[in-house]
């Protein structure tokens, strides 16, 4: 039987209370949202917090998806299922549904949250790449107030984010920009598994040329998820197959996959290139259709 090591359990009924508890209980306290990353880690003793602060009572306060001030704001406690089924997100950012429908399975998606996924920062996790491709920002709250960071500043590497000891992620903000399209492509060993490699792409057009591009990879780059050189290669050019092939080659060149049971580094690099190309192609089709 796998059970976590002993800990003290406390429930927070507001964001303010959660932050107070984090401060009072110190660095050995952890927040638990859906628990579908943290509890498995605790069962394996890869995480052994002394205090677990259950923030599920905040699902109402932090579980909203709404458009406001030129952004779509997604509460950190929004569960995967609600991200998947949000009409607003499907309309604005189809990349979200592409990714969500292939994250784990329905019962897991009923519990896991977008905030939990981003804070866990698993190197094979999908939503960090989705948010990075969309050039989203995250809101981190502490006693001193809110900090708003972009994904590059937030996502520091495997299992590491900019969230401090007595802070919590409360919201993801995705800018709504005109003439945009987005897509996510993933290859996994079987349905619901972690990615062998995955690529997210977003394009924003200005007339016949690319005004801005977002490209991010999952599972193939421990240093970060954004591919800035590939993005830059597209700006100012028509959204053509030739440009996409060039950007995909750069993304593959700049990633740093490791060989493991999911495949060789060479195979993953091949996937990074092919999936980036496909994601760009589909993002462009959606941009033109919007």
């Amino acid at each position: 039987m796998q059970v976590p090591a002993p800990f003290e359990y406390v429930r927070a009924s507001s964001v303010g209370e959660a932050i107070d508890l984090l401060e009072r209980l110190g660095p050995e306290a952890r927040l638990v949202a859906g628990g579908h990353s943290l509890l498995p880690m605790m069962k394996l003793r890869l995480a052994t917090p002394e205090h677990l602060i259950d923030i599920n009572p905040l699902a109402g306060e932090l579980g909203d998806v709404r458009e406001e001030g030129g952004e779509v704001r997604i509460g950190a406690m929004t569960r995967h299922r609600d991200v998947l089924e949000s009409e607003l997100l499907v309309r604005r950012f189809p990349i979200m549904r592409d990714a969500e429908r292939r994250i784990a399975d329905p019962p897991v998606r009923n519990r896991g949250t977008i905030g939990g996924a981003l804070c866990q920062a698993d190197p094979s996790e999908d939503l960090s790449a989705v948010c990075a491709a969309l050039k989203a920002s995250v809101v981190i709250r502490g006693r001193g107030g809110d900090r708003v960071l972009d994904m590059v500043a937030f996502h520091r590497g495997p299992y590491e984010t900019a969230v401090g000891d007595a802070e919590m992620l409360v919201e993801v903000r995705v800018p709504v920009r005109p003439h945009g399209g987005s897509a996510y492509e993933k290859v996994e060993r079987r349905a619901g598994d972690w990615a062998i490699a995955a690529a997210g792409a977003a394009l924003w057009l200005d007339g016949a040329t690319v005004a801005d591009a977002g490209i991010a990879l999952s599972a193939v780059n421990p240093r970060g998820v954004r591919c800035e050189r590939a993005e830059q290669a597209l700006v100012g050019r028509p959204p053509s197959e030739e440009a996409f092939a060039e950007a995909a080659a750069l993304a593959a060149e700049d990633c740093d996959p490791i060989a493991d049971q999911r495949g060789s580094a060479e195979y993953k690099r091949h996937l990074a290139r092919e999936l980036t190309h496909r994601a760009l192609r589909r993002a462009a089709e959606r941009t033109l259709a919007s």
């Binding site: 090591a5 003290e8 509890l39 399975d105 619901g192």
Partner: protein, 163 residues
Amino acid sequence: MQITLSINGETRSAEAEPRTLLVHVLRDHLDLTGTHWGCDTSNCGACVVLVDGEPVKSCTMLAAMAEGHEITTVEGLARDGELDPVQQGFFEEHGLQCGFCTPGMMLTARALLNENPNPSDEEIRVAISGQICRCTGYANIVRAVRWAAEHEAGATAGEEAIA
């Protein structure tokens, strides 16, 4: 800690450590052994119960986290000695062999039909995609859920009225 849960409409209490998972409180503390304990890694779905009507893997939820929510286990499916149409469907369509995955499968089917009374085969397959069955090849499970959809109380009452 004292954990008080609402299970199948009844209030039940157990004394358990905070680290105790919901599946173990159900099985070991409350003797509700209909919920099966399988892979322990949120992969197999044998331990699925409904939390506020949604399928959840009870091996990956602390019992303490379930306080204040409505839990439905397979023991709560039949009403007044009458099988739920989902249970009847698994019987009619041979939706089980060894039975290990069956409680979770039936609860997921119940949740699906509550939201979508007439699902397509594809929607049924997606709904049960987080649960593994090593016997049936899934075809009979899909048929069982279809049977239930076609024989829900409303539909049955209508047919009887016509007859």
